[in-house]
Amino acid sequence: MANLVRALGDYSLASYIDGENGTVSRELYVNSEIFEQEMEQIFQRCWLFLGHESQLPNPGDFIISRMGTEEVIVVRDRKDHKIRAFLNSCRHRGMKVCRYDEGNNLVFTCPYHAWTYDTKGKLVGAGFYNHPGAYTDTLPKEDWGLLEVGQFTNFYGSLWATWDPKAPSFEDYLGPFTHSLRHCLQSSDGEDNGLEFFRPFQRHRLPTNWKVPGFTSVTDLTHTAMTHRSAQAAGLHQDQGQGKDKPTKPFPQEKYAIGDHLLGHGGMCTFYNEPGVPEYTNEWFEPGVDDYFREATERKGSKLIDQIMAPHGWGGGHFAIFPAVMIDSWRLRWYHPHETGMTERWTLSGVDKNAPKAVKDAVRHYSERFNGPVGFFESDDMENWNYVWPASRGARARKANYFYANGLGHGVYDDRLPGVVVNGSYTEEAQRARFSRWLAFMQARSWDDLYPVNKSKTDRIW
């Protein structure tokens, strides 16, 4: 698969990225052969986000998620209650064995030839299996279960999988961002695995390449002033403490754009310099919500009285896990490639699972105002992402390069996140780091070339 791109001519993959001048060829976004190579070498290997355990509370519960262009069934087994993930493709002829987005099942029965699988993925029946003139001794059921992911993990309630059994552990894959992700999955009072996510979650289909939102929508601080100007005018953020109660005692913190050029993760980052938590200052429209969050913040502060919080992004997250997961403010968003120019963006919005109903309702309403079909912010973003594609793929347009040099050469390493490059908050350090890792994946023959990362032979190409 690594040779696909060579058919284009004398380009090598590395030549698409000009690290010296900080540019990226548009071919990376519009070329269908590169897209197919990404599916093989990135989405077959990386740890990918599947969903959250709160979507599957009961035995037999399932959701359909995606890994790259492919659907997977994520299901909680009826007997051992473990969650597993399987390719949604019958082993017999490849038909989808599940065509619902979510539900509760005893078995997944293929409507084609009635091969049927239990919630462990085991083949438990096939039409005419016991007929004397049919399969007789030629179908060993134990060998023909649904294809299970190579590795699966439940990380503080969030569900992740990779097709590659040789991939490093999820914690090794996250590297210095392990603590940041754990932090984002805590409730407001600092309890691990403290969130639940609203159902159904939001989906938007975008006629654009997956890297347009996936590689640029985190740490893209320069877009906010113009893209979201109308939403700011509407005062949507008023309930999130923008411009009202300022902290009486500013909490010592530093905000940067950061990028891990060895692992590909990065985004906006806040480094905290003292133990504890910042004072609660938000203001919600709904009565009682501020009281809940203020008390939760105080409880969290007492837990962290002698600990410095793990670095994480603004608003609780705002960083990306390579290749295409973005985490911010109780939201997990991930980008599913469908075709070179078609992407689905899924958004899980979370809330403290132990919060009272009034708080959960307020957070859900906020999420809908922000992300929903009639929300403000996301439609702003999608307008940009959607028009990037047709304006970049034409015969002339695709010969041009994108500019990724914002802050190039000004990043520095910071011991608080070893191996991660820290740069000004309005720079494109995180995007450059994602392209560094993108190139490493696209050139690597296996995980042996990708991990452990060789820090002496840095993958920094910028």
Binding site: N105, L106, V107, T109, A114, T116, V124, G125, A126, G127, F128, Y129, N130, H131
Partner: protein
């Protein structure tokens, strides 16, 4: 004494009857096995059955998904 309910599995109507058979119904299979429906996935194809009698004695007491065309009759339950 109440009459044992028998379910008509043949004909067009039989498909809906099979799809909605409740737990507790006793099935007799074409191979002579007898078992009780313990779960119905409502997929129109299968029922999960616990066997009381089976030509393969090792399957007595075991649960297995039974396809509709392996079944001779259904009765009882409820």
């Amino acid at each position: 004494m109440a009459e044992t309910q028998k379910y008509e599995l043949g004909g067009q109507g039989g498909i809906a009857v099979w799809t909605n058979l409740p737990e507790g119904v006793t099935l007799t299979l074409l191979n002579g096995a007898v078992g009780t429906v313990v779960a119905n996935p409502h997929d129109g194809g299968y029922l999960l059955v616990e066997f009381h009698e089976h030509p393969d004695a090792s399957k007595v007491g075991e649960e297995e998904y039974v396809f509709f065309n392996e079944v001779k009759s259904a009765e009882g339950g409820e």
